[in-house]
């Protein structure tokens, strides 16, 4: 009998955003995420106070996954960011901060939610259509004939995660490795449909970062003892491989729903072992050099194969099956009986390798898009952070292949975009007002709130009390150190803008970001030769940032639209 329990009535609250508690928690969350943002972001240490592992991070994915958020509104915000990150890996903090800023700025205005949402949506579509358009002044096309831009992109990802604890030299090393690993996953002769391979990250903690390396093929970790076995002798230019999906341990599974009665004196174990040894004989006669099994191989079979100089590796695990099948070109075998010769594959070579304290079998492929990235870092937490960062960088590169352009980083895209929106709504308000039914004052207010949200987002890049400026020509982001003299010659104090595209000697006018400026049309500033020569640009992933922008505004709209919160207290 099922147990029935009376349900407690839910808690219903109206106009949740007006509550002081919600505002306070929102601003706490904003404080947390904003302080993590950028290369000089502060690190957060997460621990449970009971002796569990400690996580030191400044990445949104690690941060939000560990943070326990209770208020439903914050939950919406954080899940929204987490979902974005799981899709695009990058721009999580950007999304979170922008969303918080928008909510904070917009709810200060005394406007109806309908107007707010409508105009926010209009401004968002202005942004997205500008970013996607050819005239966009903060977008750079990616030239795949040189690695420069891709390297800049990877380096930007690495430097924006300070919890990896990398020195400048290490950043250079790791970014080259990541780019190399990525290039190894691209098939050589691609048809209409490109499918990228995998890069498997192999952990090696406690080593120097510069010991990290990339190898084509697959590394399978083994204990030292097993290496004592003699490696198969290479009879031709490659080794024949059999990959088993089915267990070779001699267990009898799935005999059906009925019962199996075994007469006295009949030994099923022997029968099954016979079967396994027959299989072994077939493998030997088929000249297989290497037997890989997802599950367990019976010791007798292993010994039999060893005698015949066939190397057997078992317990490979389900995760490695797909890359192994790809590397060796085998059809994973699910039969203990006759094996079709077509299901065998091959590897170019097999060798043992020692990295740090670990021994590996290294399967070197003939031609495959699988590589292993051996990643080293000094300690566990830093390694975890570095692994996440590498995954992000690899993902960002994949996204960039799909949409071959990048956005200017270092806050320049945001300030540029804000300048564009200000200019657009100032000069051409009719186009927006005509189909939204709002007044121009309302539009002005929302534009201000929207642009300030973008600009104060870039303000979060500065954590050391410095000032943020913007130039009045390109609308880029410039930061100046704290405690600089009040009356100065700006070009002396400033060096380069946030993305590194412009330097202060270009005869620009600057203005503090927090002061009001007259709207101007930011120049699309990209003479392509300048882009080519600048090898120290800070760049952002286009797809991730665009989607982050959309998700941030959509989520903010969603939260602004809430009139009630019903909490189920069961």
């Amino acid at each position: 009998m099922s147990r029935l329990e009376a349900k407690k009535p839910s808690l219903c609250k109206s106009e949740p955003l007006t509550s002081e508690r919600v505002r306070a928690t929102l601003s706490v969350l904003k404080g947390i995420v904003a302080s993590c943002y950028g290369p000089s972001g502060r690190l957060k240490q997460l621990h449970n106070g009971l002796g569990g592992s400690v996580c030191t991070t400044s990445q949104s994915s690690a941060l939000l996954a560990n943070l326990s958020v209770t208020h439903p509104i914050l939950k919406i915000l954080t899940t929204s960011v987490q979902n974005h990150v799981s899709c695009f890996s990058d721009c999580g903090l950007f999304t979170a901060i922008l969303c918080c800023n928008l909510i904070e700025n917009v709810q200060r205005l005394d406007l109806t939610p309908t107007t707010l949402i409508k105009l926010n949506k209009h401004l968002l579509s202005l942004c997205t259509s500008y970013l996607k358009s050819e005239v966009c002044g903060c977008r750079i096309p990616v030239d795949f004939s040189s690695t420069q831009i891709l390297l800049c992109l990877v380096r930007s990802v690495l430097t924006s995660k300070p919890a990896c604890m990398l020195t400048r030299k290490e950043v250079d090393h790791i970014s080259t490795l990541i780019l190399r690993a990525f290039l190894l996953t691209i098939p050589e002769n691609a048809g209409d449909h490109i499918s990228l391979g995998n890069s498997i990250i192999v952990p090696l903690k406690g080593q120097r970062v510069v010991d990290s390396t990339v190898l084509p093929g697959i590394l399978i970790e083994v204990s030292e003892i097993r290496l004592m076995k003699i490696l198969p002798i290479k009879k031709s230019d490659s080794l024949k491989v059999a990959l088993f999906r089915v267990s070779l341990s001699g267990d009898l599974s799935d005999t059906g729903e009925g019962s199996v009665v075994v007469s006295y004196g009949v030994s099923l174990e022997n029968a099954v072992l016979d079967q396994l040894l027959n299989l072994g004989r077939q493998l030997v006669s088929d000249h297989v050099d290497l037997v890989l099994c997802q599950k367990v191989i019976h010791p007798s079979l292993k010994q039999f194969l060893g005698v015949h100089r066939v190397l057997a590796i078992d317990r490979v695990g389900a995760a490695l099956m797909e890359p192994l099948s790809k590397v060796t070109g085998t059809q994973p075998i699910g039969s203990l009986g006759s094996i079709s010769p077509s299901s065998y594959g091959s590897v170019k070579d097999l060798c043992t390798a020692k990295f740090g304290f670990k021994w590996f079998f290294h399967l070197i492929p003939n031609k495959a898009t699988v590589c292993s990235l051996l990643l080293c870092n000094r300690n566990g937490t830093a390694w975890d952070e570095l692994k996440l960062t590498c995954q992000t960088a690899l993902h960002v590169l994949q996204l960039t292949i799909k949409e071959p352009c990048v956005l200017l980083g270092g806050g320049c895209t945001e300030t540029h975009l804000a300048a564009y929106i200000r200019h657009k709504t100032f000069n051409d308000p009719e186009s927006i007002l005509k189909d939204s039914g709002c007044t121009s004052t309302e539009l002005q207010l929302i534009t201000e709130a929207f642009c300030t949200a973008l600009e104060s987002l870039t303000g979060s890049l500065e954590h050391d009390g410095g000032e943020i400026l913007t130039d009045m020509k390109y609308g880029h982001f410039w930061s100046v150190q704290a405690d600089s003299p009040s009356i100065v010659n700006w070009p002396d104090l400033l060096t380069r803008c946030g993305c590194g595209l412009h330097n202060s000697r270009e005869e620009l006018n600057w203005s503090f970001l927090r002061t009001s400026r007259h709207p101007f049309a930011p120049l699309p500033c990209l003479p392509h030769e300048a882009v080519g020569s600048a090898n120290n640009l800070t760049l952002d992933c286009f797809t991730a940032k665009l989607s982050g922008l959309q998700v941030a505004v959509e989520t903010a709209n969603l939260i602004l639209d809430l009139s009630y919160v019903i909490e189920d207290k069961n």
Binding site: K8, T79, G258, S263, L268, S335, V551, D561, Y564
Partner: protein
Amino acid sequence: TRRAMAAEGSVQVALQVAQALETIVSGCVGPEGRQVLCTKPTGEVLLSRDGGRLLAALHLEHPLARVMVACVSSHLRKTGDGAKTFIIFLCHLLRGLHAATDKEKDSLISKHSHTHGRHWKTCCRWKFISQALLTFQTQVLDRVVDECLSRHFLSIFSSSTKGRRLCRSSFQLLLEAYFGGRVGRNNHSFISQLMCDYFFQCMACESGCEEVSELVDDCFVELNIGVTGLPVSDSRIVAGLVLHRDFSVYCPADGDIRIAFVTETIQPLFSTSGSEFILNSEAQFQTSQFWIMEKTKAIMKSLQSQNVKLLLSSVKQPDLVIYYAGLNGLSVVECLSSEEISLIQRIIGLSPFVLPQASSQYEISSTALVKFCKPLILRSKRYVHLGLISTCSFIPHCMVLCGPVQGLVEQHEGALHGAFKMLRQLFKDLDLSYTTQTSGQNYTSSPLIYKNRESNQLPEIVSGSIQRPPQGTVEKNEGELAKTHTYLKVHSNLVVPSVGSETCISCSTPKVTPADIHQTDETRRCLSANKTRIIDDRDSFIESDPTTESTEENTRVEASYENLSITKMAGKGSLLPVRCKLLEMRASRSYSFSSIPAGCVLPVGGNFEILLHYYLLNYVKKCQQSEATMVGMIIANALLGIPRILYKSKKGNQSFPLVYVRALQALQTNQPMGSSQTGLESVSGKYQLLTSVLQCLAKILTIDLVISIKRQPQEIYDQESEEEL
């Protein structure tokens, strides 16, 4: 006493409860409505503007509130729309009822000082009103809808010589209005466009709209995929069917691709359920293994030889099958749900193939051709994408719904599912209980009744009111009237909501003359109680009759009535000829049921409500029955509650009073009603909502006591069937 207080407050309490719900719900009504965030006990968050979902999420404790929520959800299951309007309308009805009865209450109290007696009096009174509501709905409301409102109906179908065709622009307007009330403001136009495109892409032919809406409603879960983390604008339609799982083995194939599906493992097993496999020797075991392997191999080979490139399986297949499938170039999808299988069967009409037990020939008869079969990757999750070739009027398409959070995706899914439910209802005729006469004889056969009346639009109803005798006030006999009325209702097999602890039996239904041949035992038992009051009660009988008489199935009521009126001859001789005339009339008439035809729509923005309000007022003006007048007035006024909320935020020319006055003027001068809002809504949906609300209200009114018990109410089993066994 406590009991008395509980009953006394029933309308008042119901009103309080409804008002509490109204405040929550009214914030989400209409295109200006806002979102509500619900959290589940599991910690998930859900966004919703769906009234049904909100009410369910509240987990209300108050019994009356639970009755209301139960009524709303049963209404939603049927129609998929109108939960919020339901609550608002119910609240207005209760408010009207409360105001109308407030005045009368004072006199009632002074007459019956005994509290217990007063309690029963009030209960009876509420029950009487609840019956009046139901009769009003079946008699007057249906009639008004059929006779007056129908001339304003628009159709979603464009009329053409080749039968009905779905008009795309009207359809779009309908969806836009629907989603305007169901999804967030920034997404509603996008979602309605998506739905419109989807519907038209799925429709193989113009006449298939009914079938498509039914199939999508039934299989909605299988036909859409939710993806979180992407902006809503990334949602799209994909041609073909997407299965919510990955290939177990995938072999790229093109050209002539055939599929087959199985419901059992292809590899033969040692023993089947209920059987025993006896192993006598090791060699036997090895031979069996070998045989199993060879047989599996042979089946897979034969599948390949018949060009089968994809095997769908409802069960998990052993490794061996997967291996041979891979070797033979067959892709395999395992563990399909029964819903997915039934959907595929519905689309392509393919049945599973049965493995031959003995023969070595594996001729598989049931295979079907597909256009393509490939993996589809959405947010790094792999799905199976099939280009099924449809054999019905539904061309398979799937919706990929994106959103930043799961809660939003679910909201859109819910709204889309509701839209298909709504369409399903819209594409069907809705029968009204009101019947129209096909012969014109009735008007001539009863000149007696109408001779001192002006011309009337509603002859039958008015004929009822004429029979109301001048003497005897209604208020005086209200209690008895209610009782008698209930009796009549119960025995006439009309749909009457269950009335809790107070049934017609406990209330006793005396006052029926022995001449009635249709009496049941209960009534006979009660007869002795107050025979003396027969004469007093005849008025009430006459009162209640005209409202029920026009339904065909009410023969029993009529019969008993007939007997009654004959016995009352002494008191009022003039009644007999009228009765006879009426009976003659009935005999000469042939009835046909009226209905709201499929596809009827009205512009949004309270058009339906204002129209019905106007016609009900018109009716009420001509009607002289006080309770019908009262009920009519209450309903008519309550109807305005909805447009009032819709126009709440509008100012100036678009404010509610001005819109209302303009609409009334237009109606009086027979001009078309202008509407400021574009968009259409289903008439049958609105009408069903109205009737559901009236039934819910009637249910609430008939409850006199709420008894709290410790354990669960025991289910009432059908004892007879058990005895037979």
